[in-house]
């Protein structure tokens, strides 16, 4: 499977299909036997740090992702690990906060005082601060209320990065991605235009998914 620069691809599949596991392979947190090439480089033990600079992974549960005492430190964590100059850090934090639609006053807050919607956005900001070329999101909308959901969709749609989105929310896929791959039991079963795949009722049912309401023929 090839993903081009700037493309927005959804990986859809039922729970347990292996979507999250696949994402964890993209930056070498997990290493399998297959071959992964990121921006022309084959993923290996020795270029992990470089690859991680390119691939930003946003986890499903922001509580897993935000482990620092303050929001500022969490956002600074990535760029500092990647060796960004110390003077640049405050600007990076500032920029990723505003890119994620968050107020600057957020920086001194502790993440356990934030609402889920805010926490999700801080998690996104903590990855955007690393300026990744590829953004891999794992179920970004789970548990969000409609308003926060809408904001986050608009936010993600406005980002220039290549997007790989793992989810089983079909409406979200329809809103964000032009291309979709169906994954089930660890394998890709179909790969193509989002509208074509998602309106294929047989394919959806076979892999524990559903044709989104907005595509159902009346």
């Amino acid at each position: 499977m090839d993903v081009r620069i700037g493309e927005r691809v959804a990986i859809v599949g039922p729970s347990g299909a292996g979507k999250s596991t696949l994402l964890l392979h993209l930056n070498g947190v997990l290493m399998g036997t297959g071959l992964i090439r990121i921006m022309g480089q084959t993923l290996e033990q020795k270029n992990l740090q470089q690859i991680r600079k390119h691939v930003g992974l946003v986890f499903q549960d922001p509580n897993d992702q935000l482990f620092c005492p303050t929001v500022y430190e969490d956002i600074a964590f990535g760029p500092m690990n990647l060796g960004a100059p110390e003077k640049e850090i405050p600007f990076r934090v500032e920029k990723s906060l505003s890119d994620s639609g968050l107020d600057q006053s957020m920086r001194s807050r502790t993440s356990h005082h934030l609402s889920l919607g805010e926490r999700k956005r801080v998690a996104l900001a903590s990855v955007l601060a690393m300026d990744p070329a590829i953004l891999a999101l794992d179920e970004p909308m789970s548990n969000l209320d409609p308003r926060n959901r809408r904001h986050l969709i608009e936010l993600i749609a406005s980002l220039p990065a290549t997007l790989i989105l793992a989810t089983h929310e079909m409406e979200l896929v329809l809103a964000l991605c032009t291309r979709t791959a169906v994954m089930d039991r660890g394998k890709i079963w179909a790969d193509g235009n989002t509208r074509d795949l998602l309106s294929n009722a047989d394919l959806m049912h076979e892999h524990g998914l559903e044709v989104p309401l907005s595509l159902k023929k009346t």
Binding site: N63, F67, P69, E73, F77, G78, T110, S126
Partner: protein, 240 residues
């Protein structure tokens, strides 16, 4: 779901709050050591420390009621600890009790005038090993996540329980809850570590560091040093 915070009043902006975390760590630790070294029977010295701490508490703008409530919460432990040394006699026990109370109030002031994150940063800059500082940080960050997990589990248990079961049954339920909690914590730790790796973690935790050591810090430390010196090594006008 509610939880109480260790550093509840740390966001005020009294003169004490504005001091550098290192200053407070060093200053308050010195006070604690000094309090522990006061000999029993030197009532005047005890009183002067109590007076100093009262002034610090006043400056800190932490509500008095909060300090009293926190102290009362830990009081039973202090009493128990005091009673564990009955050979010291009444005066000795009294001194032990007073020392414990004073130290406790000092710690309450320290943790409520310094945000936990800054306290950690201060510790780190004073040479505390990386692994210890980041573990304390994780503890603080995830204590609340864990508490919420426990509260949710308890709600789920209460929803499926009618009346009171036999003690043995209750204990076995508690056992499985604790087991589940342990497994969940393990899994969370793993996911967290993955998140750290994903953002380029390679063994060294970066420290964000706004330098802020200026003359009020110096004045505070000098004041504490002078006070301790006077109370221990005498001052011509002070009764021995």
């Amino acid at each position: 779901m509610r939880h109480s915070f260790i550093d509840r009043f740390a966001n005020l902006d009294s003169p004490l709050h504005l001091l550098d975390a290192r200053t407070k760590l060093v200053g308050f630790t010195a006070l604690i050591v000094a309090v522990l070294l006061i000999q029993s029977g030197r009532d005047f010295v005890f009183f002067s420390y109590f007076f100093l701490i009262a002034i610090l508490a006043g400056i800190s703008q932490i509500p008095l009621g909060f300090i009293v409530r926190r102290t009362l919460t830990i009081l039973p432990f202090i009493i128990l600890a005091t009673l564990a040394a009955p050979w010291r006699g009444v005066a000795g026990l009294g001194a032990l009790f007073l020392r414990a109370i004073l130290c406790l109030i000092i710690l309450i002031i320290l943790t409520n005038t310094t945000r936990f994150a800054e306290l950690l940063r201060g510790l780190r800059r004073l040479g505390c090993p990386q692994i210890l500082a980041s573990n304390l940080g994780f503890l603080y960050r995830y204590l609340f996540v864990l508490t919420e997990e426990i509260l949710r589990m308890r709600q789920a248990r209460d929803c499926r329980r009618v009346g009171h079961a036999a003690l043995k049954k209750e204990l076995s339920t508690l056992g499985s809850m604790l087991g589940t909690l342990l497994v969940r914590s393990f899994e969370r730790a793993e996911r967290m570590y993955n998140a750290m790796l994903s953002r380029g973690y390679a063994g060294e935790f970066p420290v964000v560091d706004p330098h802020r050591f200026s003359w009020p810090d110096l004045a505070f430390l000098a004041g504490i040093a002078l006070f301790v010196w006077v109370t221990f090594f005498g001052f011509p006008v002070l009764p021995a």
